[in-house]
Symmetry: C2
Subunit: 109 residues, 2 copies
DNA sequence: TTCAAAAGGTTACTATATGTAACTTAGTGT
DNA sequence: ACACTAAGTTACATATAGTAACCTTTTGAA
């Protein structure tokens, strides 16, 4: 029943970016490398789902995971080149959101 | 437990675009006005979910719904100005996908 | 030496979202 | 009256996300 006519590469990108939380995680990492708990509290995601997403994004080579043997051990997540190159995408979304949404309280233009 | 530090306008935009199918529906409508069944078969979405999405996108003034009293009645969906202005976003995603995904078969770079 | 704390998760369980297929409504043509 | 088409809707099944409690390792205090 499915006969999509859409470019498979584009679909892959959309599926990556439409996966809930992925865009926010990437956006957050644009500020620089961050730790699990920093990402978690900054975007308000549950540990379980964040753990899933980070694994998935790492598999897709969008982010990199680095173990720092401090005490207690610290895990640092950062964007790869592939991840960093999503910046223009997020920038466009940001521009669009600033233009089309007005109030801070939930109402829109 | 949630203390997001992210701009609420940006979050709204992300939530709109991350809602499954929304980006593909909008992308599809960039080609011009289309009918329910055309959208459905071109992106391979179920009628139930497409119906939900179209209502939601209409509420958000991203798409417009027009009843054409032919026989049988035809409903035409099109992008509003707000929806059309998402074109640069989708273009950036398209560019990114073309650069970072190589094969047509599911493997990537 | 035993306790508590902190980072980064995982697990079991619940709630929400999505998918499937059959059904509905209204107008036409046969 | 009957079948056909477009655009949905409904009931039910499965998949994805959320919550809170628990696990592991290392350190430092009691």
């Amino acid at each position: 029943m499915k006969q999509p006519t859409i470019c498979p590469k584009f679909e892959k990108a959309i599926s990556l970016l439409s996966q809930r939380w992925n865009a926010l995680v990437i956006y957050q990492l644009l500020d620089g490398p961050q730790r699990f708990s920093e990402i978690q509290s900054s975007i308000g995601i549950s540990g379980k789902v964040l753990s899933d997403r980070l694994k998935d994004l790492e598999h897709q080579e969008v982010i990199a995971r680095k173990v720092i043997p401090e005490t207690p051990v610290v895990i640092e997540y950062s964007l790869t080149e592939k991840g960093l190159s999503l910046k223009p995408v997020l920038k466009e979304i940001e521009d669009w959101s600033q233009f089309w949404f007005n109030s801070e309280n939930g109402a829109d233009a």
